[in-house]
């Protein structure tokens, strides 16, 4: 059944993740990831793994790769800061990593607490050799997702797909 509140891009993104063979979805909740999280929990072929902190998800994805399975880490931009030391594992051991990051602290942000980490997301990820691919418009999401998946699964890279606040809509909280 189609959820009328679910944007088309979100369903497309889930389809890209499944077609890529994702079997484990680690996440720290964010409203921008709501539909992906619900879809993962509803999918008998996917293990949804709620985390207490985003860094756990970096270990989870790496462990899944050791076991020849594909995982993805869903988080909000503030979670990027929690991942830094564990990204040394990814860089040093050359683990492929796909993470999807919903952005805050940028376009239209109204919560002053969000700006510091929002501004730091890309410099922090790049410092840890995680490439970033941005999607700021619904029409960008499919191509950005497919580009990210190719970089990770065939290119062997660590990639963060950043879903911008222009796409998600700025929150009122």
């Amino acid at each position: 059944m189609t959820d009328p509140s679910q944007p088309t891009w979100s369903a497309e993104l889930y389809r890209v993740l499944r077609e890529r063979g994702t079997s484990i979805v680690g996440y720290v909740p964010d409203s921008g990831h709501r539909h992906l999280i619900e879809a993962a929990h509803a999918d008998d072929d996917v293990r949804a793994v709620p985390l207490t902190t985003e860094e756990e998800g970096v270990g989870l994805v790496a462990g899944a790769h050791l076991g020849h399975e594909k995982a993805v880490l869903l988080m909000q931009s503030s979670g990027v800061g929690n991942c830094v030391n564990f990204l040394s594992l990814v860089q040093h051991c050359r683990f492929p990593l796909l993470t999807i990051v919903t952005m805050r602290g940028e376009y239209g942000e109204q919560n002053p607490w969000q700006f510091a980490m929002g501004r730091a997301v890309e410099p922090v990820l790049h410092a840890m050799h995680v490439a970033t691919v941005r999607a700021d418009h619904p029409d960008d999401v499919m191509s950005a997702a497919e580009a990210s998946v190719g970089m990770v699964d065939r290119g062997g890279q660590a990639v963060a797909l950043l879903l911008g606040q222009r796409l998600l809509g700025a929150k009122k909280f």
Binding site: R47, L51, T52, G59, A64, H65, L66, G67, L89, H92
Partner: protein, 194 residues
């Protein structure tokens, strides 16, 4: 207080029966020594706090294999939330072995929070919701332990061990090599079971 390697040898039996992820420090050195640098042992020498999360990802990916995380009290204390995450998933093929000596061995034996019995990691694991939690303090408890890997529930073993470091001179530190050879060992296991 138990000797770490004696305890590990007793608990693990043949190391090649398991896929092993270790935390940094003595856990890594001991497992490299015990397994003679086996490719199916992923020894970390950094990323402190990541061992349980990696073991969880591996256990979910390979439910047909016994997956064992071996780590120390300091490494585990850095990411207690990972025990709560494991408790929600309850992979029956995962065993977490925490070698508790109450000290940060690598940095000069400073006390961890478990020193002098202040913090009980087995109590934390049990309260997190891990079903099968055992504290092992002596040879009798070691001898009475049922074999790991086939208990049907996630296990957490807190093993009280003596302080002291035993570096393994040949510890593999090339992470890319560790990753590639571990995956190849997993793949060989898949071919055998086909």
């Amino acid at each position: 207080m138990l000797d770490r390697q004696t305890a590990l040898r007793s608990i693990l039996g043949d190391v090649s029966d398991h896929l092993v992820v270790t935390g940094l420090g003595n856990a890594a050195n001991d497992l490299a020594a015990l397994s003679d640098d086996s490719p199916s042992v992923f020894t970390m020498d950094g990323a402190m706090g990541a061992a349980v999360s990696m073991g969880l990802g591996l256990a979910l990916a390979r439910p047909e294999r016994s997956v064992v995380v071996v780590t120390g009290d300091g490494e585990l204390l850095m990411n207690l939330g990972s025990l709560a995450t494991v408790a929600v998933q309850q992979p029956p093929n995962l065993t977490v072995i925490c070698l508790d000596n109450g000290a940060y061995g690598l940095t000069g034996d400073q006390d961890t929070h478990t020193a002098n019995g202040v913090v009980d990691l087995a109590g934390i694991a049990a309260a997190a919701g891990l079903g099968d939690v055992v504290t092992i303090t002596d040879d009798d408890a070691l001898a009475g332990l049922s074999p790991i890997g086939d208990s049907g529930s996630t296990r957490f073993l807190l093993v009280k061990v003596a302080r002291g470091n035993t570096p393994y001179p040949g510890l593999e530190r090339n992470g890319d090599h560790l990753r590639v050879r571990f995956r190849a060992a997993v793949e060989r296991g898949l071919e055998v079971s086909r």
